[in-house]
């Protein structure tokens, strides 16, 4: 239901002109980090950082084959599903942590009330 951490990460990733350019480029064809660095007149290290941000936001995936790291748009289906499940799990975990506190509070209250009745 609530996945805005991921959305915020996407927006942060998209706030940079070079990164938007990289996405545009990858929309046309997959490319290696070396290709991208050359195309955007950047150092390899600089491009690695940009790709890292896009990868964190789930907008780009990379795969290393031999010595070449290839970048492509989006996540693989299964990775996307696993990422969604983890986000969903965190939401329910946060909810259930709160619910847990309420259940403990109600349980305590009943114990106290029970004692008071007996006394």
């Amino acid at each position: 239901m609530v996945q805005h951490t991921q959305i915020d990460a996407s927006f942060a990733a998209l706030s940079d002109a070079t990164r938007r350019g990289v996405l545009e480029q990858l929309g046309r064809a997959d490319a290696s980090i070396t290709d991208l660095a050359a195309k955007f007149h950047m150092t390899l290290t600089g491009m690695k950082k940009h790709v890292g941000v896009l990868e964190q936001a789930g907008l780009v995936t990379t795969q290393k084959i031999g010595r070449v790291r290839t970048c492509k748009l989006g996540l693989h289906r299964l990775e996307q599903e696993a990422a969604w499940i983890e986000r969903h799990r965190r939401l329910w975990d946060a909810r259930f942590d709160e619910l847990h506190k309420i259940v403990e509070e109600l349980t305590q209250k009943e114990k106290v009330d029970g004692r008071q009745k007996r006394e």
């Binding site: 239901m1 609530v2 996945q3 805005h4 991921q6 959305i7 996407s10 927006f11 998209l14 938007r20 996405l23 545009e24 929309g27 299964l78 996307q80 599903e81 696993a82 969604w84 499940i85 983890e86 969903h88 799990r89 939401l91 329910w92 975990d93 946060a94 909810r95 259930f96 942590d97 709160e98 619910l99 847990h100 506190k101 309420i102 259940v103 403990e104 109600l106 349980t107 009943e110």
Partner: protein, 167 residues
């Protein structure tokens, strides 16, 4: 398709698991240290429900919560970050069996799931199982692709942005 994730950081904390059981089913589980009667109460009394459904860490807040907890009764939850643009979730209770079973529909989308929550008490603890049955594989896939139920406006903005980029 068994993408199970569990909390590993704090061993004392009860674990929350989420699992896609089949093409159409999603299951969430957690054990609570209390009776089924009390856990059930926290799901069916609005004043209690409000306190946990939209935890602060998610950045959302429950703006209103109406629940007519009986078979055929309706519920409506409105929440969001901005009171002028609430996101509503609504539907009907199909089955209400205290303190062991709750079933409701999710009618905010045409392809909404049916949610069943069971509360099973054992040795003073309660195992909660939340089961979502989606009308089709595509409906659950769409939910998991994040296109439904999340933050429609932000998705629209993101879609627009991605569209501009792909031209």
């Amino acid at each position: 398709m068994d993408a199970r994730k569990e909390s590993e950081s704090t061993p004392l904390k009860n674990r929350t698991t989420v699992e896609r059981k089949s093409e159409r089913e999603l299951v969430v589980t957690r054990t609570f240290n209390g009776s089924a009667r009390l856990v059930f109460e926290a799901w069916t009394k609005p004043e209690l429900f409000k306190r946990w459904w939209a935890p602060k860490s998610t950045g959302m807040s429950l703006l209103s919560c109406e629940m007519d907890v009986r078979a055929g009764g309706s519920y409506r939850l409105e929440f969001g970050r901005d009171a002028s643009k609430p996101i509503a979730f609504f539907g009907r209770y199909v089955e209400v069996t205290a303190p062991s079973r709750l079933v409701w529909t999710n009618d905010e989308s045409n392809e909404g799931a049916v949610t069943t929550v069971t509360f099973e008490e054992k040795g003073g603890k309660t195992l909660l199982v939340l089961h979502e049955l989606h009308p089709s594989k595509e409906a659950l896939d769409a939910t998991m692709a994040g296109m439904e139920g999340a933050m429609p406006e932000q998705f629209e903005q993101l879609d627009e942005l991605l569209l501009t980029l792909s031209v």
